[in-house]
Amino acid sequence: MRLHPALIALAATLVLPRAALANDSDLQVLAPYVRLAPPGTANTAAFMIVSNTGRSDRKLLKADSPVARRVELHSHVNDQGVMRMRQVTEIVIKAGGQSELKPGGYHVMLLDLRQPLKEGESVPLTLSFDDGFSKQIDAPVRRPQTVMATDPAAQHGSMPH
């Protein structure tokens, strides 16, 4: 298998300008976290907000993590009340916009965890984007929120009696 130098040069010209255009600092990952998996279970998900301050749309194509045997990008389709979870090939982050990966929506699925995660532990994630750019982040493991978030006083006030 030999590659003609001209072919390599062509490939380089195709890849380099795009990589140069899409700047590292254009993409920001905010508030990432991994939901603590219930005991005895080996699947969970990571959530975050990805914002794009650049002038072109970006696509998240892949996520990787050493903590799980399989990492996939997923979404849910609510089909007449039936939640159908499906792998997606990309999550678009619009130019000047942001995409939220949140419970019940887009998420990074961590399947078949190599070992149980602990609350507070930091999970390394590598996010790969369409222009070949990849970003490393650390997402803390958080227990799902099981206590009412709202102000108790306001909550009580809104309750019909």
Partner: protein
Amino acid sequence: MKAHWLLTTAVAALSALLVFLVACWQPVPPPAATTAAHSMPSPATSPPGGDFSLQGPQGTVALADFRGKVVLIYFGYTSCPDVCPTSLALLAQALSGLDAAEREQVQGIFVSLDPDRDSPAVLAQYAPFFHPAIVGLRGTPTQIATLAGQYGVSYRKQQANAEGQYTVDHSSETYLVNRHGKLSTRLPHASPASEILAAIRQQLAPRDSR
């Protein structure tokens, strides 16, 4: 001459194919095609609900055991990476919003739609992780199919991957059963905790009971 005719035909055929692909090809089959699952009652019809008894962490648990209490039932599976934890966390939030006296009159039930993988031991750890007032129950595949029909739950095991792992598509409503054991409210997927709490309190209100 013949070659020319062949070329023209080929071009026409390819053009037609291209037009067809642009117009009709969908990389993902439309949901309608994949929904044609085995005898599932449509979630839109009104299910009767009703009694059942299943395997709990310490022996049989029956819905009738909780007469006099308001019961919330959620159907899911413990390998569920997102939908079930999200729903159970919301249910747990609602339960945590009750005061101690109210909480004594409320019971949560998590019914596994994946009896092959969810053992009573797994369920015994799983359900209380969200809230101690939620008990995890398991039944035989036949019992679960019957119960799902009773409550209007749709579920379908998806194809396993190379490692034998699979997910289960399922409806994600929370069923509220009143003090008399009757299915009274179906809370849609992702109902906010405040709405679940309000629905529980509505049933707790001493109107017709006592």
